[in-house]
């Protein structure tokens, strides 16, 4: 995505290495690079998370707001995704440079989270037919080192896990209903994210496919499929990306890989987040 323009021979090297199931850095085709997660590190948000996948770095802040309900769906709350491709990550994102990539990622997240079982949308409704919570999920890309979609979705899920929505009490007036927001910082409710999907990108390189492609490997692929996978292994959305085409047998194989990896990712992520919650350790933040 940045400056990796490869020579023919380098591409051949990577292609053969995927064929051998032994990638440039020694990983197998279905291995992820190691990842670091931290939640609750930004105090001005209702929920936040940072994910570092090798050198891809993503920061997510979630802010909640009361708003009028969508007249088409009067009994549920809403999610709103925005991806800021910061020029800190690469000068190519300067100005409107990162806009296309940003809207592509947010479209994918919106679709992956659009099924009713992703999060409990009914619990986000305060007053059916009138007021609901709108969750602004804002993603900031700090560094791009390949596999952005997956890293962003993991960070989003972690931030939603961390989300603390203040409790609202309702008092009936003669004029209508009055909403009263709790100002006690410990009076909040959490969101159940067990059904939330993570996005898995499967890149086709040569006759095989890889997950968690590095920047160099992304340069070598012509077609990839991007899927939202839940913990149960269901697929919440899928799209093919890139200028190449695929035959339907290999799509099935790629989907199978994505499902396997996605279920594992969900399981391990949730375990790590619960572990962090239990430890209640101090935040590390950005110091390295």
């Amino acid at each position: 995505m940045t400056d990796a323009e490869l020579s023919e021979a380098e591409k051949t090297f990577i292609l053969h290495s995927v064929q051998d199931n032994f990638r440039e850095d020694g990983r197998g085709n279905e291995d992820f690079r190691h990842m670091e997660v931290e939640t609750g590190l930004i105090s001005n948000t209702n929920g936040s998370a940072r994910v570092r996948l090798a050198n891809t770095d993503v920061l997510v802040g979630v802010k909640v707001q009361l708003t009028a309900v969508d007249p088409e769906k009067p009994e549920v709350g809403r999610l709103d995704f925005f991806i800021d491709c910061s020029a800190n990550a690469t000068p190519a994102f300067e100005g409107r440079g990162g806009e296309d990539l940003g809207s592509e990622i947010s479209a994918m997240l919106t679709r992956a989270y659009s099924c009713p079982s992703a999060v409990d949308f009914h619990s986000l409704c305060v007053l059916p037919g009138q007021q609901c919570w709108l969750l602004y999920v804002d993603v900031l890309l700090l560094e791009c080192g390949g596999n952005l979609f997956d890293a962003v979705s993991i960070a989003v899920k972690a931030a939603l896990f961390n989300l603390k929505i203040p409790n609202v009490t309702m008092t009936k007036d003669e004029g209508g209903v009055e909403l009263d927001l709790s100002d006690d910082p410990f009076d909040f409710k959490r969101l159940n994210v067990a059904g939330a999907p993570v996005v898995v990108t499967v890149n086709k390189i040569g006759h095989k496919h890889v997950v968690d492609a590095s920047e160099k490997e992304e340069e070598c692929t012509l077609a990839r499929i991007i899927l939202g996978v839940t913990e149960k292994g269901t697929i919440t959305s899928m799209r093919k990306e890139g200028s190449g085409s695929l035959d339907s047998d290999s799509i099935s194989e790629m989907m199978e890989s994505a499902r396997k990896v996605g279920m594992e990712l969900n399981k391990i992520l949730l375990k790590a987040l619960e572990e962090e919650e239990k430890q209640g350790a101090k935040t590390v933040g950005f110091l390295r």
Partner: protein, 272 residues
């Protein structure tokens, strides 16, 4: 936000009267016949015509009952910006719902859904076009959906592929697309907007499997060039409905072929 002052913009917020109408949603659990009387596996009749915009290099029109779209292709022409220079040709695609095409009025500027669909149409067509034959040039595709009643993406893909072919752009293959909506054990081939919305816009879980799939297919190369699914589906169901869409694409292919052949015959006849 920059707005076009020459146009009449609607009020800032308005509600469609349909929101207050009695529920138009289908009861998916006990659905026995589809509202338009088709069987579950039956496609809508497909009508295609080329050369509908005389000034464009190539153009086409598609009609699937109440889904109607028009597409124009301009180019190949020289790339305007020098930094976009490349030895491979460039394809651009602009997908737009006409403001009056849907139940809700659309804005005249492209919204995020339309941008997303533009990219998907583009990626469905790119593998089919011999872009290396058009160095330093760009080919522009413009698609407008005049009336939306489900399957806008597949209609747009087919329409654009036909317009490209009628423009004489070199292609490896035609692109055919087909959709299906799934709810539990039901698979509704070529769904209408009502069917799509009932499944995708539901706020309660209808079934463990509820969603829709769109596949674009290159029939003579047997390659899938675009794939998109929404909603929540299990791996097996998704795989099965994907195969079903591929089979439907193969059934639709002759219609596209015949339209092109007829178009060529007309041209030949007018020449002599």
């Amino acid at each position: 936000m920059p707005t076009d002052t020459r146009r009449l913009t609607g009020p800032e917020s308005s509600q469609s009267p349909y929101n207050f109408a009695p529920c138009s949603k289908l009861d998916m659990r006990n659905l026995e016949v589809r509202p338009d009387g088709r069987s579950f596996k039956q496609l809508r009749p497909l009508f295609l015509r080329t050369d509908v915009v005389s000034q464009a290099r190539g153009s086409s029109y598609i009609e699937m009952n109440d889904t109607k779209a028009i597409c124009a292709v301009y180019g190949p022409r020289e790339v305007l910006r020098r930094e976009d220079f490349s030895l491979k040709g460039q394809l651009t695609c602009d997908f737009k719902f006409a403001t009056f095409s849907c139940k809700q009025r659309r804005q005249h500027q492209q919204d995020s859904q339309e941008k997303d669909l533009s990219v998907q149409v583009l990626e469905a067509l790119e593998p089919a076009v011999c872009l290396h034959k058009y160095p330093k040039s760009q080919i522009n595709i413009f698609i407008t959906v005049l009336q939306h009643d489900g399957c806008a993406l597949s209609a747009a893909i087919m329409c654009a592929s036909l317009a490209l072919a009628s423009a004489g752009i070199e292609m490896y293959d035609l692109v055919v697309a087909s959709s299906a909506a799934i709810c539990g054990s039901l698979t509704l081939v070529d769904p209408t907007a009502q069917e799509e919305e009932t499944i995708l816009k539901s706020t309660v879980k209808l079934d463990a499997n509820a969603g829709s799939v769109t596949v674009a297919y290159l029939p003579s190369m047997s390659q899938v060039s675009a794939l998109s699914s929404d909603g929540e589906l299990s791996f097996e169901v998704l795989n099965k409905s994907m195969q079903e869409c591929v089979a439907n694409c193969q059934r639709l292919y002759p219609v596209l072929e015949q339209t092109l052949v007829k178009h060529q015959q007309e041209l030949e006849a007018s020449k002599s």
